[in-house]
């Protein structure tokens, strides 16, 4: 009896300290980024491009990375949305057999787990094959490949949870499969669809491995889709080990902006999901 109690006390202690450790890492990361990135952040930092080359120090800011990241992630999310909503809708019972749907779900889960560097490598091979250099376009394609499995899988889950009675009612009133999907199922699943898009966007804007070979890096804001583009994650990757403090500052500021973006998206996703659920039939 006593031994049992000691064991219980010991494990409760271990569980609480594990939880404390996990909590402390998040707090620690946010604190480090705030302490290092906060002072580095200024109006010039976010409104100017680097003036003296990214490894030479000097003035200027991280505007090239901010604009590049937004272009990359927004375009990739838009492309991924078009593909994902189509695939996710097709996976529902009205369109495909359960057997096919389950096979595709398994593959999607596998693709979700594929390391993003592999998407980068694949895109790089394709780029060499078609004779394209590092460019915004290639980066967008790589990020789209990364985002589609995530978005589709989450969308599929929220579409699948739409009550069948709702679809039956729509069918009874004379709407066909497509009308039911677009007008009834999508609207009912809207909170889930929005959180799928935001989850994929958050993943896309934070990923460096897939755009490292494909989007390249530059001090300038891309003027066309064939120009190389800098991004916040690649900027952090290249600059945070720089021997020059002025250059490291840029990485810290970039990390601040990136983390703020990702956290805002994460919170916004929760709030939006909550708000949109008021229009859902329960």
């Amino acid at each position: 009896m006593r031994r049992g109690r000691i064991q219980e006390a010991a494990f409760t202690f271990l569980m609480v300290s594990s939880l404390a450790l996990v909590t402390a890492t998040l707090v620690g990361i946010v604190a480090v980024v705030l302490i290092k990135g906060g002072p580095a952040l200024s109006v010039d930092m976010i409104t100017e491009t680097p003036t003296a080359g990214y490894y030479l120090g000097g003035g200027g800011g991280i505007l090239n990375a901010i604009v590049g990241s937004l272009w990359l992630a927004l375009s990739a999310t838009a492309l991924a949305f078009v593909v994902s909503i189509a695939v996710a809708t097709y996976l529902q019972r009205e369109f495909s057999t359960p057997r096919l749907a389950n096979a595709v779900r398994t593959v999607l889960e596998l693709l979700w787990g594929v390391p993003s560097i592999v998407y980068g490598v694949i895109c790089f091979v394709i780029m060499v094959f078609v004779g394209l250099g590092t460019s915004l376009l290639a980066g967008i394609v790589a990020l789209t490949l990364l985002e589609v499995p995530i978005m589709t899988r989450v969308m599929d889950e929220s579409l699948s949870s739409v009550p069948p009675e709702l679809k039956v009612s729509a069918h009874v009133l004379g709407s066909n499969r497509a009308e039911t999907s677009v007008r009834v199922v999508w609207r009912q699943a809207a909170p889930g669809l929005v959180s799928a898009v935001l989850l994929a966007f958050g993943r896309g804007i934070g990923d460096a491995a897939s755009i490292l070979f494909t989007a390249g890096f530059t001090d300038f804001i891309p003027r066309s889709v064939l120009d190389s583009a800098a991004a916040l994650p690649t900027m952090i990757f290249f600059l945070s080990t720089s021997p020059l403090p002025e250059v490291r500052e840029r990485a810290y500021a970039a990390a601040f902006v990136l983390l703020a973006l990702v956290l805002v998206i994460s919170v916004a996703s929760r709030l939006l999901t909550h708000k949109l659920s008021t229009y859902v039939v329960k």
């Binding site: 219980e8 569980m15 980024v33 595709v104 934070g206 460096a208």
Partner: protein, 280 residues
Amino acid sequence: MVCAFLALVVLILVFKSSYLLGQRSLADLLLTTDWNPPRGRFGLLPIIAGSVYVTGLAMVVAVPVSVLASTYIAEYMRGAAQHVMKSFVDVLAGIPSVVYGMCAIIVLVPLVRDVVAPAFGVNSTGFCVLSAAAVLAVMVFPIIISVCVDIFRAVPQETREASLAVGATKWETTKLVVFRAALPGVFSAVLLGLGRAFGETIAVAMLVGNLPRMPASLFDSAATLPSLIASTYGEMMSIPLYDSAMMLLALILILIVLAFNYLAGLIKKRFERLQLGESA
């Protein structure tokens, strides 16, 4: 289309790496330790060993901590507190890996270089197996915790009540009933985390030193499969065999990760069927 894409990815990698495989035997590539592409030496063993060391060490730390933390969240927290903790873990999972890497360079690398390594009487740059493994462990926490909490919640409430009713304490119930029922699910969560850790590129590339040599101690630099690909992409086009070797690395990487994830999915499905069968 989705299935065809996965097949296409693997096929491209096989095709691109076949050039190197045509010139060297697979055993020769996998079992020699000399990685020197400009001289045409492609021993992959140090890179595979680096991956295994870093990932293994990370999992040794991450698995007990995550399983204990998720047990507390799922079994000992209620209502709002549990909900807040779960959202907290989701936020942690969403932090980009470059940010983890940068924080580790600021905090962990000097710590290892100036405090930990001297305490063991060794010199280290701080960019070593230990730093990479530590940050990898932190990155795997939210993945394992998030899945584990769901798994624990899926164990039917009645089984807990039955155990408590015959006089078991809360901990005895957790240990003997919930753990036992959730074991396959926890195993799949660990495999999922393992797959993610094995493929993690950026944070590891920033911390491990990217030196493809057999690491002799925790304080040595090493290279992992993804970190080497990320750090050498610029030079790899100059020598055709080099390019092909990189593709072989990517192929090995994707096959290993796919195997982990497939297994994890299989076990999880089995667990769900078992639990649904019991509760129905």
